[in-house]
Amino acid sequence: MSDKKLHLTITTPLRTVYTNDIDQLTVTTSVGELTILPDHIPLITTLEIGQVMVKNDGHEVYYAIDGGILEVRHDNKVVILSDRSENASEIDIERAKEALKRAEDIKNNSSDVDNVDYNKLERDIAKELNRVKLTEKNQRR
């Protein structure tokens, strides 16, 4: 492994979630999965709801992300601007499951079809599923 490192910052409108030197990073972009290593070309891309895998000194850390923008700079600095981001260990699994169930209930049982914003519901379900998956993944390890 090279001794070059990436400097990663994950930030949301509310706070900066993560800032550290890392070896590599894997994200889900809107055109597919992407792994960034040091000396990547400058790139700006949009992120989907998904996971960010951060690898440093052989350790893997996962972050859940509700979409956002990824910026890779020429000087090995990487910035993720996310609407919202959580470390896998910070995720409240019960709450995520509950929210998931609630969203699905509304989707399946709503009698007032006109008033349901299906796009938003689909998005909510995707977000919560993402959290649940990530936590379960972390627990297995």
């Binding site: 509310l14 070309i41 910026e71």
Partner: protein, 293 residues
């Protein structure tokens, strides 16, 4: 006055003083926390503005929220407090709203209000309220801000508003704050940067000419615009919150000082009354013994 009634009054003034002192200290810590939260969003604001400026100003890409529109309706977001006892804080916002109405008499105004006091402001100025947010948690969570922003943009999309303006209180320092009305949508990069207190140092700005974009530049801009709107509205909410608390600190400090002053005065009166009672008693005893002998 009777010593007993003075004593009672002293007691109640003392209690009020204790309460206002406690409120002052609570507000000091709440103000500090709001300022901290406000500063924590700076990194995101800086980056997203950089992106917006490069795509919109230099590459001339566009987005519905960046284009000005015609019309005679204005959507006004009024940010004030839920609770009172904070000096002139709400009154100052109200004055700005009234002035805005006076100078823009040709437009119809709808309002989205934050806080119970701004409901009152809107009613006092005869503005139609389209949405009211009074249940926000202490320092605003991400989902609260998002749904707040969503209701603003939805209202803007569905009706022919000319613009969205925000009446809020700018936090200058813990002693100075200033109610003002600022344009929000259509987003103007320069004014929005000023709102977010981002220094416009042109030579330090990076150009994104060397970057490759995926899937394309327009897609990135479509994500960057809501991100910028979100930070701006979040920062304005927190600045107003910090101003509210610092205004309350001042009001409560005044109240505590007044309580101390009043207590001193009452103590003087009390001692005077007590002395008068003793003197009277002595003269009665002296008078009584003189009558007996």
């Amino acid at each position: 006055m009777q010593t007993k009634t003075i004593k009672q009054k002293m007691k109640s003034v003392q209690n009020i003083g204790k309460i206002t002192k406690a409120m002052e200290m609570i507000s000091v810590s709440k103000m500090k926390k709001s300022v901290q939260k406000r500063l924590a969003s700076d990194v995101f604001a800086e980056r997203s503005f950089e992106l917006l400026e490069n795509l919109h100003v230099h590459k001339k890409l566009s987005h519905p929220y960046l284009e000005s529109r015609d019309g005679n309706k204005v959507l006004m977001v009024i940010i004030a407090s839920n609770k009172g006892l904070c000096g002139g804080y709400n009154m100052n916002v109200s004055k700005q709203v009234t002035r805005f109405i006076d100078t823009n008499s040709e437009v119809t105004i709808d309002a989205i209000v934050v806080g119970k006091q701004s409901e009152k402001i809107a009613k006092r100025n005869n503005i139609n309220i389209v949405a009211s947010f009074t249940e926000f948690s202490d320092y605003y969570t991400a989902s609260e801000v998002r749904s707040f922003l969503h209701s603003i943009t939805q209202q803007y999309d569905n009706d022919n508003y000319r613009e969205v303006v925000i009446a809020y209180t700018k936090f200058v320092s813990s002693l100075a704050f200033e109610a003002q009305i600022t344009p929000f949508i259509p987003l103007n990069v320069d004014t929005a940067e000023k709102l977010a207190h981002i220094e416009n140092t042109t030579n330090a700005k990076r150009k994104f000419a060397l970057y490759s974009f995926e899937p394309n530049e327009q897609e990135v801009l479509n994500k960057a615009v809501p991100a910028v709107l979100m930070t701006v509205i979040y920062q304005l909410l927190l600045e107003s919150l910090a101003s509210e608390h610092s205004s309350r600190v001042m009001a409560m400090r005044n109240a505590s000082d007044n309580a101390v002053e009043m207590l001193d005065e009452l103590k003087l009166n009390y001692n005077r009354a007590r002395q008068a009672a003793i003197t009277q008693e002595i003269s009665e005893i002296v008078g009584g013994s003189a009558a007996v002998s």
